[in-house]
Structure formats: structure tokens, C-alpha cells
């Protein structure tokens, strides 16, 4: 009975979307804001008590069936379910969504009413999609939510419709995530065929007992799906460019929820991943590499949003690596903490940059400590959590849990630990750079800006969570079925040293001129080691050329096969058929085309005429000739007569 409340969780957001997007009547600005906010915050009101009840053990796992579909010999049972992972994830998503919606009320006040309406509609659709995904108890609902998120991401990144850059960024994000989605779909369908059911409770065990090659392929497909959505290497190029979207979009989608969906996927399907050591190893390696790559790239960024984007890439790498080393619960704990501080960082950065004139470069944040103190302090708290300052920040606890799990899980785990540690140092370096720059005194002193409570409220709440949330990490891990690791003391100490080293490094990079110049000159690192450019050269340009060739805009086949009338484009295969038809016409029909028989008849008729012309020559008009003819004829008759007397 209580389970059916689960179905209500995404409903308010979905209803908000329908009202705002499809409702033909005009709504005034207040109504739009109210509807958007209510729809965005209502899920929290539903899932909050449910999750609390579940996590405190008052109610057990719940499943709410949606409906059944009979296809072939299979019965496909759609359902939503509440278990530890989904409760934690849903609560996080709903909470962060509520915070971002409240923040967006103030941040998006520059937008006109139709655009605001579109914004809230899309944000609500996204929230509905993500909640469906985390609460799904079957793979179809899961995939539905997954794809819906991708669609909303496209529309939200390209929210500024008049900007071709934003549109291109949206296209890129959509395309790359779609590649991963195709892999995910393949994995889910194969699992379905293995298990005979779509329920996750039956899919996951079936995935673990599949025969090795098949099972590894399935696990690898799931991994690719997760890597793409979570912007891990090599699918990460879309996230930094996705920062072209408005800040609330970056705060909700591209930091806390959607990009971390891959980690949620991996945490859910962790048994399948862990059942195939090759894939698990690949997961760990992918996660660790991404963590290091993201952190290194982030150090070299000059734009705070891009810095935070690379930071997200790096932090989710941590989560992915955690699943790879066999600690999915710890990964989920980090997901929660990361959601809190990353969305906080984005929102605070948004406030600071708005106050600084709208530019999002780090240098323009100079003096924000004076101009927007609340935002600055919250940003600093978030940065501390990101860097993982020991003991006082939630980030420390979750990151330490990951590092500890890695170190105890075999040789690969130890390598992962080392890489992750290096990444942790770099995290400290880049996390505090904007803080230090913002705290520095600007060239011209800046006045204190008015900070709207709608913006500051969520910031403060999230900052408190980012700091104090560490207390919840261990209980969460236990709840989600993992073991809170008890690392050896040296591991903890090394971790603490790493974070502080990062802080020191950050100070050095900002204030020591030579280092600052080095960082400014690290162009390749800033461009993310030119993955983007290489993908463009390897994949996009040849594809475009292929398309142009096939469309007949270039290439030699057009001259050979001809093109259709009206100057339209053609395609080689289709035009080949047409050319074949035309050739047949030329070879078979055209020889007969002037009617040969008719011509022959007419020529014959003309011949008769000519013969008659020639025959006229016999009529000379001369008596003598007629007489000769008479004589010859007579002679012939006589001979004939004589001849007939032979016998």
C-alpha cells in the first residue's frame, strides 16, 4: 500500500511539465514560477518521509508494480521499487532538485516569461525522468528515465536558442550520450533475454551467472553506458562544452544528478560487474584514469564552470573506481556527498559571477569575497568538501572511504589508490584556486551586492550538508549493504596529507608567479589533452565528408551516374538504380524508338513511288520505241508459241 506512494514521486514534476509545456493557455509569470517551483519541490515532500522510513528501518523494501505487458512468451512487469540504493539516490535527487529550483527562481529572473516557462517545464521533466530512473525496479522504466534525462539535457544545454554554440554543445552531449545509451540498451536487452524478465531483482542475478564471454560482453556494455552518461574518459568531451547551458542546468544536471547517473547504474548493477573480473578491472582503471585526468585538466582551466565540469568528471571517476574495486555502497555515499557540494559550488559560482558582471572566468571572480560574502563562504565550504579537508568536511569521509576500499582490494586496487591519491592532491589544487582568487583584493574595490535569500538559502543549506554530512557516510554505506571500511591509520594520514598538500599547492599556484604562469601556459591540458580536437579529426570530419560524398555534393559518382532533376541531392545507391534504368532505356528502347517497322513500310512505299518514277522512262513518247516494243513483244510471243509446241 505504501509502495504506491512511490508512483507518486515523479508525478508532481511530470504534471508540472505537462502544465507548463503543453497547456495552451497563457500563464502569467507568477503562475509559471509557482507551478515550476511546486512541481520541482513536491517530489521531495513525497520521497522524504518514505526514504526516511525506509532508511531508519521502519519499512522494508517496497515494490510498486505499474503494469504488465505480454509479449511473446515473456511477461514484462514494470515496477518502481524502494530499496536502500534507490531511497538514498531518490532522496538526494529530490533534495538537490528542490534546492536548484529555488535558486533558479532568482537566477533565471532575467528570462522572459515564455522562456522561463520552457525552462521550468524542461527542468521538471528532467526531475521526473531522473526520479523514475533511480526508483525503477525494472530495466524498462530505468531506460525510460535514462533517455528522458538525455533529451532534457539536450534541450536545457541549448536553452539559449539563439546561440549556435549552445546548440552545438547540446548536439555533442546528446550524440555522445546516445552512443552510450545504445550500448546500455544492448546490455539491458541481452540481460532480458538471459533472465526472461525485466525486473532488476531477476536481471542482476541472471547477469552474474551467464556464461563467461556473454556475461562479460553484457557487463562491458553496461559499463560503456555508464561511462558515456557520466562523462568518463573516453566519452567525457561533452561535459565541459555543456557548460554553455545556464548555471542552474549545470548545477542540477551536469554536476549532481545526470552525470552521476552512470555511477548509480554501476552501483545498481555492481554484482554483474563484479562477476566478471576483466570488466571490473576495466571499471576500476577507467575510473581512476578519469579521476586523474579530470583533476589535472581542471588545474589548468581558466573558466570556473569548466573547472567544475572537469571536477565532476574527476569525482565521478572516483565513484566508478569504487564500483570497480568492489565497493558500490561507498560509491553511492560519495554520490550523495558529491551531489551536495558540486551543486553548491555551481550555484555559488553562479551568484559570484553574476555579481561580477556575468563572465565566468576565474579572474572575474576577483573580489567576490567582498561583493557576495554569503556565496563566497558557501563556495569555500564546498571547495573544502571537494578537496576533502580532513575530518571537517563530508568530502573527506566519502573520499577516504573510497581510498580505503581501494587499498585493501588487491594489487589493482593499490594502483587505483595511488592514482586516486594523486588525483586528490590535484583536486585540492584546483578546488581552492577560485576561492583564493575570489578572496584576493581586486584592482577596483567592489561594492557589496544584494544577495537574494532565494539564492542564498539553498546555498547555506547545502554548505552545511557539505560540511556536516560526513557523519552520515558510514551509516549510509552500511544501509546500502556495504562495509564501511576501516582503513589502516597510515592510509588516513596519507589521505589527510594529500588534501592539505592540495591546499598548499593551490596557494602556490595562485600566488607564486612562475607557477601561475606555468598553469596559464598549459594550453593542452586546458583543452583536455585535445580529446575534442582528435575526436573531431578522427570521427566528425570523415563522417561529414562521407555524408557530403553520399549526398552528391562532392565526389565523382555524380558525373558518372547523373543527378535527379531540380538540382536536388541524390545518393549513389538510389541513383545507381535510376542510372541502370536509364541505361536499359538507352540500350533496349532507344534503338526501337523511331519505329523501324513503320520506317521500313514507309520506305517501301517510297520505293514503289521511285520505281514508278523509273518506270516512266519507258514512256519516251517516241513512236519508234513503241514500235520496237511491239516488235520485241511479238517476237517473244512467237518464241513462246514455238516453245509450247515442244513436247
Amino acid at each position: 500500500m505504501l509502495a504506491y506512494l512511490l508512483l507518486l514521486v515523479p508525478m508532481p514534476s511530470l504534471g508540472g511539465f505537462l502544465l507548463l509545456a503543453l497547456d495552451p493557455y497563457r500563464l502569467d509569470r507568477r503562475a509559471v514560477q509557482a507551478a515550476g517551483l511546486a512541481a520541482g519541490c513536491a517530489p521531495l515532500l513525497v520521497i522524504g518521509p518514505l526514504a526516511a522510513l525506509h532508511l531508519t528501518g521502519a519499512i522494508g523494501d517496497q515494490v510498486a508494480p505499474i503494469f504488465f505487458i505480454n509479449v511473446g512468451n515473456f511477461e514484462v512487469a514494470l515496477a518502481m521499487g524502494l530499496d536502500a540504493v534507490s531511497a538514498v539516490a531518490a532522496l538526494t535527487v529530490a533534495f538537490v532538485a528542490a534546492c536548484v529550483m529555488i535558486y533558479a527562481l532568482d537566477y533565471m529572473s532575467y528570462a522572459g516569461t515564455p522562456d522561463l516557462r520552457r525552462f521550468f517545464a524542461l527542468m521538471n521533466l528532467f526531475v521526473a525522468g531522473m526520479l523514475s530512473m533511480v526508483l525503477a525496479a525494472d530495466s524498462i522504466t530505468f531506460f525510460l528515465g535514462w533517455e528522458l534525462m538525455g533529451l532534457c539535457s539536450f534541450f536545457l544545454i541549448s536553452y539559449n536558442m539563439t546561440s549556435p554554440r549552445a546548440f552545438a554543445a547540446g548536439q555533442k552531449a546528446f550524440l555522445i550520450t546516445r552512443i552510450a545509451d545504445a550500448a546500455l540498451l544492448a546490455g539491458l536487452l541481452l540481460l532480458f533475454l538471459e533472465a526472461g524478465s525485466v525486473r532488476l531483482t531477476e536481471l542482476i542475478p541472471a547477469g552474474t551467472v551467464a556464461e563467461p564471454v556473454r556475461g562479460s560482453i553484457i557487463a562491458a556494455l553496461l559499463l560503456i553506458g555508464a561511462l558515456g552518461k557520466s562523462a568518463q574518459v573516453p566519452f567525457h568531451t561533452w561535459l565541459p562544452t555543456a557548460m554553455a547551458g545556464p548555471t542552474p542546468v549545470s548545477a542540477l544536471l551536469h554536476s549532481a544528478t545526470m552525470v552521476a547517473a552512470g555511477a548509480v547504474l554501476l552501483a545498481r548493477f555492481a554484482p554483474v560487474i563484479e562477476a566478471y573480473p576483466v570488466v571490473a578491472g576495466a571499471t576500476a582503471v577507467a575510473g581512476a584514469t578519469t579521476a586523474l585526468f579530470g583533476a589535472a585538466s581542471a588545474v589548468a582551466q581558466t573558466d570556473v564552470k569548466r573547472l567544475l565540469a572537469y571536477s565532476s568528471i574527476s569525482q565521478i571517476g572516483y565513484m566508478v573506481a569504487a564500483v570497480g574495486v568492489g565497493a558500490p555502497a561507498v560509491a553511492m555515499a560519495h554520490f550523495v556527498v558529491h551531489a551536495a557540494f558540486k551543486s553548491l559550488l555551481f550555484m555559488a559560482a553562479g551568484v559570484m559571477s553574476h555579481a561580477g558582471g556575468g563572465s565566468t572566468t576565474i579572474d572575474s571572480l576577483r573580489g567576490a569575497a567582498r561583493a557576495t560574502p554569503i556565496a563566497f563562504i558557501c563556495y569555500a565550504a564546498g571547495a573544502a568538501s571537494l578537496a576533502g579537508l580532513p575530518f571537517v568536511t563530508a568530502g573527506w569521509w566519502s573520499k577516504e572511504a573510497i581510498l580505503a576500499s581501494a587499498v585493501v582490494s588487491g594489487p589493482l586496487g593499490a594502483a587505483v589508490w595511488a592514482v586516486a591519491l594523486a588525483a586528490a592532491v590535484l583536486t585540492g589544487v584546483y578546488a581552492f584556486r577560485p576561492v583564493l582568487v575570489a578572496a584576493a583584493t581586486p584592482a577596483t574595490p567592489r561594492r557589496r551586492c544584494r544577495e537574494h535569500p532565494l539564492a542564498s538559502g539553498p546555498l547555506i543549506v547545502l554548505a552545511l550538508l557539505a560540511l556536516a554530512g560526513g557523519l552520515a557516510v558510514a551509516p549510509m554505506t552500511t544501509l546500502m549493504g556495504g562495509h564501511p571500511p576501516h582503513p589502516a591509520h597510515w592510509v588516513e594520514i596519507v589521505g589527510a596529507v594529500a588534501a592539505l598538500a592540495g591546499l598548499a599547492g593551490s596557494v602556490a599556484v595562485v600566488f607564486v608567479p612562475t607557477l601561475a604562469a606555468r598553469v596559464r601556459g598549459a594550453r593542452k591540458l586546458r583543452a583536455g589533452l585535445q580529446f575534442d580536437a582528435r575526436y573531431y579529426a578522427l570521427l566528425v570530419r570523415p563522417y561529414r565528408r562521407l555524408v557530403r560524398r553520399l549526398s552528391g555534393r562532392e565526389g565523382a559518382w555524380v558525373d558518372r551516374l547523373g543527378r535527379p532533376p531540380d538540382g536536388a541531392t541524390a545518393d549513389p545507391v538510389g541513383q545507381a538504380t535510376v542510372a541502370l534504368g536509364l541505361w536499359l532505356r538507352r540500350v533496349v528502347l532507344t534503338p526501337f524508338s523511331p519505329d523501324r517497322m513503320d520506317i521500313a513500310w514507309m520506305r517501301g512505299a517510297a520505293g514503289i513511288g521511285r520505281a514508278a518514277e523509273r518506270g516512266r522512262n519507258l514512256q519516251t513518247g517516241r513512236v519508234r520505241d513503241y514500235a520496237l516494243a511491239l516488235a520485241v513483244g511479238l517476237a517473244a510471243l512467237l518464241i513462246l508459241g514455238w516453245g509450247m509446241t515442244w513436247r
Binding site: 505480454n70 524498462i140 533517455e147 547540446g170 548536439q171 555524408v547 553520399l550 541524390a570 545518393d571
Partner: protein, 485 residues
């Protein structure tokens, strides 16, 4: 009775639409709408009162007994769904063509006749009658393109005619052979299915049928008529072409090979699936390079119908069910896209994506409709298109993983062309051509709403459609086709 009415009502309705304005002073538009509505009502009555067995309705009557020709009509779930779609699309065509005044009675008559001929194809099981309706379909469609189209419409209409007529010869030849070699002479498909035929004969006959259906489908390399026909056809012509005529090809492939040539199908199915796989990628890649919006959607039709081909040749339950669902879903989504593009062309005078743009600012309802069917074109879960494609892919995984992987490529490439389409129309600063574009009128909005609702309903609550299609799918299963363990 109801089944013959499905054919005769639109047929005579066409004449009514042609003559009504002159003789009775009635509007030919409302006449056509009434005829379509009546057809739909008769269909619904037939479905509701239908039997529970293999066929919902069955009609058999002698016509030329000494030649074995009968009026043999049968309807099951698949045909019923397609008949409903045809009547619905006929009505939508009238609504969307309200501005057509040049020779309007003949225009509406042509719409009726196209619907009548397609209904004939969907219902006939006497092969000669089937071939007759197959050829008949071409004529009113030719008229629609040649008389009311734009651009180089005569050339496009002739191309359409030549391709389809030549392909129809294959069907005709196979039908005549089968009829002539049957003893006593008959064209009854069920009787002919019982005849024993050698393997080679089956393959050859199947090729004859397949050529006709594949050119209609259309599958590369026989698809060359479609882009030109679509670009130069009027909006109603495009809708009928995409929503109806293409489906007749798919229906033919779905229905007749498993019934008449099961062994031949087993032999040719791998080729069919390979051809479908090629068509999926080829159509999608070509769609990415188009600047004419209608041509882009035409190439996506090639891609989607190639998926249907893969499903039909798959032979397993999922693949066939997916093919059936994709048929219906594609009818909705492509009709809606052509409707929108046609409405846009009527307002702005252009279909060129380089000249359009920024529709969001000037016509938000238009933009939202585009966004909805953008999602359908992408096969977003929640739309019926996704259901069809996912079922086909599942079936392909049971048959051959490589084919499934290729079908998945369509999901990825669809992003490129769909974003190209919507980017060229909805995004960006409003271009001069778009500046004065009026938003969707009510008579355009209602068809879009209906089509969108159908897409979403069947995508989110698919059980109804799946149950309706189940008997047809089960009859089309080729038990000789292998299934990977």
C-alpha cells in the same frame, strides 16, 4: 459486408467528392471527411463484433469462378490497425489541405481513392485482387503528386510511377504463375499456400513478391523514387505516401511470404535482414546530409522501414511484433512531421533548413509540436517508435548480434539528423522567412494532437497494440527459422 464497405466506401466516396460540389452543392472536403469517418465507424463496428479466432472478419464471394478469382477479404488485428490508420490519415489529409483550391474536388477524390486502394491491399487474400489493388494504388498517388505538387513534380511523379509499376510486374508474374499452375485454377492465397512447391520455385516466387514490396517499402537500392516523390508532393500526398503506401509494402512482406513461401523465406531471410541493416545505416547517414527538410524526413523513412524489413525477416516473435509496432508508429510520426513541414512551407514558402530557423520565438506551439515528434524520430522511450525499434533489436539479438548492433547504430545516427532538423527549424534567431509565420491553426493543431497522443499512448501503454497485433505475429512466425539458444 463490413470489409467490402472498407473498400467501396472510400471508392465511391471519391466519386461523391468529385461530383458533390457540382451536383449537390456540398463541400467536397466535408464529404471526404464524412466518408472517412463512416469507414472508420464501420471498421470499429467490425472490430468490436469480431470473432475471437484467427480472423476478426472474413468475406468470401465468387467473382469469376472459371478463372478462380474471388472477392476474398480477411481482417485481423494488424489489418484492422492499418485500416484505422488509413481512414484517420485520410481525414487528417483533408484538414491539412484546407487551402487547396485548384481542382479541389479531384484532389479530394484522389485522397479517397488512395485510401480505397490501400484498404484493398490490406484486406485482399485473393492474389489477383491483391495485385489489382497494388497497381491501382499508384494511380491516385500519381495524380496527387503530378497535379498538386511543387517543383519538378511531373518528373517526380513519373519516377514514382515507373519504379512502382515495374516492381509490380514481379508481383503480377508470380501471381499469374501460381494461379496458372494451380489445379483447379485459383488465386485464393490460402488454397495456394497448401500447394507443394519446390524450393527453387518458392525462392523465385518469393523474389517476385519481394521485389514489388521492397520497392514500395522502400529499401535501398530501390528507394530512389521516395525522396523525389516526397519533396515534390503536396502535404497530403506526402502524408498518404509515408503513412499509407509505404505500409502496404511492409504489410505485404509481413503477411504473404510466411503464408505462401515459408521455405523460400528461410533461405532469403538472411539476405533480407542484411539488406535491411544496410538500409538502416544508409538511410540514416544520408538523412544527415540533407538541407531540404522533407527530403531529410524521406530518408529517415527509408531507415525506419529498413528496420521493419529486418523485423519481418527476423522470423522470431519479438522481431515481427517490433515490425508491426514500428509500422504503426512510423505512420504516426512521419505523417506528423510531414504535416508540420508542409504547414511551415505553406507559410514561409521554403523547406530549406538553411533559410528556416527560430520558430520557437515566433510560433511556440509549432516548436513544441516539432519537439514532440523530434523525440519520436529519435525513438525516445515513451514513444511508440522506441517500442517498435526495441522489439526489433531484441529479436535481432536472438538471431544475430551483428545485425542488432547495426540496428543500434540507427539510434545513434538518429541524433545527428534529428538535431539537424530541429536545429534548422526551431533553434536560432528567427530568419526572415520565418518572421511572419503564423502559429498552428486549430485545424492543424488537432491532427497533431491526435497523432502525438497516439504516439505517446502506444509508447507508454503498449499492451493494447501488442495484443491487437499478436495473432498476426504468431501466424507469421516461421517455425523453420532458427533461434539462438
Amino acid at each position: 459486408m463490413a470489409l467490402t464497405l472498407q473498400i467501396l466506401l472510400p471508392f465511391f466516396g471519391g466519386f461523391a467528392a468529385l461530383l458533390a460540389p457540382r451536383l449537390a452543392g456540398l463541400s467536397e472536403r466535408w464529404t471526404t471527411i464524412a466518408v472517412m469517418a463512416l469507414t472508420l465507424i464501420v471498421l470499429l463496428l467490425a472490430v468490436v463484433s469480431g470473432d475471437d479466432g484467427r480472423w476478426l472478419a472474413f468475406t468470401r464471394a465468387d467473382w469469376a469462378p472459371s478463372f478462380g478469382i474471388q472477392v476474398l477479404l480477411a481482417m485481423d488485428g494488424l489489418s484492422a490497425a492499418l485500416l484505422a490508420v488509413s481512414a484517420g490519415l485520410g481525414m487528417i489529409c483533408v484538414f491539412i489541405s484546407w487551402h487547396v483550391t485548384h481542382r479541389s474536388p479531384l484532389f479530394h477524390a484522389a485522397i479517397c481513392w488512395t485510401v480505397a486502394a490501400s484498404n484493398g491491399v490490406f484486406l485482399s487474400f485473393d492474389l489477383l485482387i491483391l495485385a489489382f489493388f497494388w497497381e491501382l494504388m499508384i494511380v491516385p498517388a500519381f495524380l496527387l503528386i503530378a497535379l498538386w505538387g511543387h517543383g519538378d513534380r511531373e518528373a517526380a511523379a513519373i519516377k514514382f510511377l515507373v519504379f512502382n509499376a515495374v516492381a509490380g510486374l514481379g508481383l503480377l508474374a508470380a501471381v499469374f504463375w501460381m494461379g496458372a499452375t494451380s489445379d483447379p485454377i485459383t488465386f485464393d492465397a490460402f488454397e495456394l499456400a497448401r500447394d507443394e512447391r519446390s524450393h527453387t520455385a518458392q525462392v523465385l516466387l518469393l523474389l517476385g513478391f519481394a521485389v514489388a514490396f521492397m520497392v514500395k517499402l522502400p529499401v535501398p537500392p530501390f528507394h530512389a523514387w521516395l525522396p523525389d516523390a516526397h519533396t515534390n508532393a503536396p502535404t497530403a500526398g506526402s502524408i498518404l505516401l509515408a503513412g499509407l503506401l509505404l505500409k502496404t509494402g511492409a504489410y505485404g512482406l509481413f503477411r504473404f511470404p510466411p503464408l505462401l513461401f515459408p521455405e523460400g523465406l528461410v533461405t532469403l531471410a538472411p539476405w533480407g535482414m542484411a539488406l535491411g541493416a544496410f538500409g538502416v545505416v544508409y538511410g540514416a547517414v544520408l538523412a544527415c546530409g540533407q538541407t531540404d527538410a522533407k527530403r531529410l524526413v524521406a530518408y529517415t523513412s527509408v531507415a525506419h522501414m529498413s528496420i521493419v524489413l529486418m523485423g519481418v525477416c527476423g522470423g522470431v516473435h519479438f522481431a515481427l511484433m517490433g515490425a508491426g509496432v514500428e509500422m504503426i508508429a512510423h505512420a504516426f510520426s512521419s505523417s506528423a512531421l510531414f504535416l508540420l513541414i508542409g504547414a511551415l512551407q505553406h507559410r514561409t514558402g521554403t523547406r530549406d533548413l538553411r533559410e528556416l530557423g527560430g520558430l520557437q520565438k515566433t510560433a511556440p506551439a509549432f516548436a513544441t509540436s516539432f519537439a514532440l515528434f523530434f523525440a519520436a524520430a529519435l525513438a525516445m522511450p515513451g514513444t511508440a517508435n522506441f517500442l517498435g525499434e526495441a522489439l526489433v533489436i531484441t529479436g535481432m539479438f536472438q538471431v544475430n548480434w551483428v545485425l542488432a548492433a547495426i540496428a543500434l547504430v540507427s539510434l545513434v545516427v538518429s541524433v545527428v539528423y534529428a538535431t539537424r532538423l530541429i536545429g534548422g527549424i526551431v533553434f536560432g534567431e528567427p530568419k526572415p522567412a520565418v518572421q511572419g509565420a503564423h502559429d498552428l491553426y486549430r485545424h492543424e493543431l488537432w491532427p497533431i494532437a491526435v497523432l502525438g497522443l497516439c504516439t505517446l499512448l502506444f509508447g507508454l501503454f503498449p499492451q493494447a497494440l501488442i495484443s491487437v497485433l499478436r495473432p498476426a505475429v504468431e501466424a507469421a512466425l516461421t517455425p523453420l527459422l532458427f533461434v539462438q539458444p
